[in-house]
């Protein structure tokens, strides 16, 4: 349990983040000048005006915010709720975040934060992803989780969602870094994932409770995602993409960036291919993540959890080898990849009659090797 002085200390951090019109940049200016928020609180109005970027209005706002009761009331309400609160210097505040230029001064979270002694990767990518990206995000994350690598992402639709789902499916830890308040599930459709992370993983946000979805917040929170992780994996990204913002942050913070290559004609791979062109590391298999030194050393520290190939992959390769060569089933299977293939195209490609193709597809589906993504369009389940 925190003692009283810590709770008071927390209040000053909470207060400094609650002044209307004073954003993170100005807060950091204030902190730079005064050293800590308590000193800011007890400083005089004239002192504030000595700092560049603090205007007359700002100083007035700071003065007024000391008078109003709602900030304290909100703080008490926050401390009474099950949402956890952290600030720089507090025990649970991740040190990695302090390296960011304008590091968050408040953190709100549910569940627990990742274990920084164990490897952490973030999986980011397009919201409107293809089945290819979806499958890769899911399978990679699953494989990471099975090897004790923690997966963090932004809990957005598409790649974020499937990455975190994959990690959960293997029973691993996952953290969702939100661009809204930690108590706001955005997008609503991810409620199931949100509730799961709240219980068994973590939900983290630098924004106050109840903050709705504001477009500017989402690129901002990407700096936290990259800062918390040892390596960033981009699965699918369009030309202009939020994932590239995450990559920019990651490079600034000196993190390794891995990119899943795609087809050059695919708009959803343009961003990825550009990153590769600029020198990012391609990641072709989940194991490739060990190329990141930080992850391989951290993994070695936790020998008990590590193995070269995940059990899932092993199982899959075993299954694949079991398929008799040149059987009709194999003919059908070999024409499938991670891009959905229509039934008619399969018939043309294999040259088999429709009924045979359908029969084999169903059997492959039963064996869990093939999936129907949408009406009569089929993909491989395994990479």
């Amino acid at each position: 349990m925190e003692n009283l002085s810590e709770i008071t200390k927390g209040f000053y951090w909470y207060w400094i983040n609650s002044i209307p019109g004073v954003g993170l940049v100005k807060i950091h200016k204030l902190l730079e000048y005064f050293g800590n928020p308590k000193r800011v609180f007890f400083a005089k109005k004239s002192d504030y005006l000595n700092i560049e970027k603090i205007s007359e209005n700002d100083a007035k706002a700071i003065e007024e915010s000391k008078e109003v009761g709602y900030i304290l009331k909100d703080y008490i309400k926050l401390r009474k709720s099950d949402m956890k609160f952290s600030y720089p210097g507090k025990e649970d505040y991740p040190k990695q975040l302090l390296d960011i230029e304008n590091y968050p001064v408040n953190l709100y979270y549910y569940g627990r934060l990742p274990d920084f002694n164990k490897p952490i990767v973030s999986i980011v990518g397009a919201r409107g992803c293809t089945d290819y990206g979806r499958r890769i995000a899911y399978e990679f994350a699953k494989s990471f989780a099975a090897n004790g690598i923690q997966v963090i992402s932004g809990m957005a639709l598409g790649i974020d969602y499937y990455g975190q789902k994959g990690a959960i499916s293997a029973g691993g830890y996952s953290l969702g870094v939100l661009g809204t308040g930690a108590d706001v599930c955005y997008p609503r459709n991810n409620l199931e994932l949100y509730l799961h992370l709240k219980e068994h993983g973590g939900i983290l946000s630098e924004y106050k409770p109840n903050t709705p979805a504001i477009p500017g917040h989402f690129p901002e929170r990407n700096r936290i995602i990259s800062a918390l992780s040892d390596a960033v994996i981009v699965v699918e990204a369009r030309n202009k993409s939020g994932s590239k913002i995450t990559v920019d942050w990651a490079l600034e913070q000196g993190k390794d960036v891995f990119v899943v290559p795609g087809r050059i004609s695919d708009p959803l791979s343009v961003g990825c291919l550009e990153l590769l062109n600029e020198g990012a590391n391609p990641i072709l298999r989940p194991e490739d993540i060990y190329q990141c030194d930080l992850i391989s050393t951290k993994s070695n520290k936790n020998q008990a959890l590590s193995s070269e190939i995940s059990p899932q992959n092993e199982q899959f390769r075993h299954n694949l080898n079991k398929l008799p060569i040149a059987s009709q089933k194999n003919m059908v299977y070999s024409e499938l990849d991670l891009y959905p293939c229509a039934l008619d195209d399969l018939v043309t490609k294999t040259g088999l009659p429709l009924s045979i193709v359908v029969e084999n597809l169903l059997e492959l589906e039963l064996e869990g090797l093939v999936e129907e993504t949408t009406k009569n369009c089929y993909v491989r389940v395994q990479i």
């Binding site: 293809t130 089945d131 459709n189 008619d344 009924s355 169903l362 059997e363 949408t374 009406k375 009569n376």
Partner: protein, 515 residues
Amino acid sequence: MYSCIKSASVYGLEAILVEVETDVSDGLPDFNMSGLLSSEVKEAKERIKVAIKNSNFKLLPQRVVVNISPADIRKDGTGFDLPIALGLLAANNLITNESLGEYFCIGELGLDGSIKGVKGILPCVLMAQKAGIKNVIIPKANKEEALIVEDINVITVSNLKECVNIINGKLEPSSLNFDSLDTFSKSPIIEEKDIKTPDFSDVRGQNSAKRATMIAVAGMHNIMYMGPPGSGKTMLASRIPYIMPDMTKEERLEVTKIESVAGILKEGSGLVKKRPFRNPYHNITLNALMGGGAFAKPGEITLASKGVLFLDEITEFNSNVIESLRSPIEDRKVKVTRLNYSYDYPADFMLVAAMNPCKCGYYPDRTRCKCREVDIRRYIGKISNPIWDRFDICIKTNEIKFKDIAYETETDENVLSNKKMKEMILRARKAQLERFKDTNINFNSQMNSEMVKKYCQLKDREKELMERFYEKKHLTARAYTRILKTARTIADLEGEKDINWSHISESFSYRRVNE
């Protein structure tokens, strides 16, 4: 003087015999009509007076009372003009035939005395024949329609003067002979040589969709096409009536009756030969689809009876309009109930629908589709589960590739044409006829769960595979029956007695989205 002549009024698809009584007497000149008449019937008096004058008959100023009995049934339509006019003339002794009461007549009058065609002649003449009436007088425009009915003397007239002369015996009725006669009736065969019948061989590619269509027609399963814009969904659907087996006489009579009542029967067409294909747009209202209105008329589902009801872009229809189809699909009829009456219209149609897989239409081609997954799910979710349940077959149509348009990629032998498909369908229909001869259903799609249990028995291997799939895909009992019904039809198409695994697996591939 009093006179009486028989006529008819249409209720639903049936006609009721009515008697038009006319009495003229001295007194203040007046024209009174009674018998629960709608406004178009009441308006008749002005038309009749002028038409009689313009036909060179002289009437004295007198008190006229017209009653149409039975007086407690509402009468509408313009067909009472002619019987009232004839009654009036008879009451004035201008018609000398004593047996006018034995005649049955119907027709609308123009101000110049001409007689125009009316809706619903076929049910009226059928009713007259059943009632034992010998002579019917009908407008010339409705000739072919009336001639469908056998054993009744049809007199066609084109103006009031001619009509009176025929009744008075001064004129011989015009000859009704035709050069060629249809198999079922005295009416002529309309040759549509100029119009080429649309053929399935015109549809490029889409082999799986063509096959699914054939299966759907064979078992009268409702079918849903799903595919990107321009992939030929409408083309496929519009060809379905041409691969359905030819209509029997009863079916043709029913379709003709419906078209006659709805007033859409083409002039000179006689018994309808082509199966109906109705494709209402998505702006259709509930009443227009189901039938009804203040004076109930058959709706699109009735007009599609014995044929195809095609709902293109089904997601764009009002949801209450689509939901209203639930009961008619099950009952194969629709009940239209208004305050004073209740009609049963037939609604024995095959439902064909088409939709895009998402709003932009290109999912899962992510190079073009930028729809979010939620939006895609929402788009498909516009069709409610109960409606999805009524589609036994759902098939994806694919974008047409350049090679399919530019080159003849398929040889004549393996391309599915109308002829080939119809042959296979007839075979499947024959098997079904044999199977259901002791029941009240005709097609596999109409089987209930007990019948499915009886007629779709699986062997051990199939049972075992089915069980595995059932567990893996979390199928519902409803989906299970649907898959079996479709599998039964596929087996019938292939001419096989037992359902085997390939039939079931094919049937699986036609299951609906997200099942």
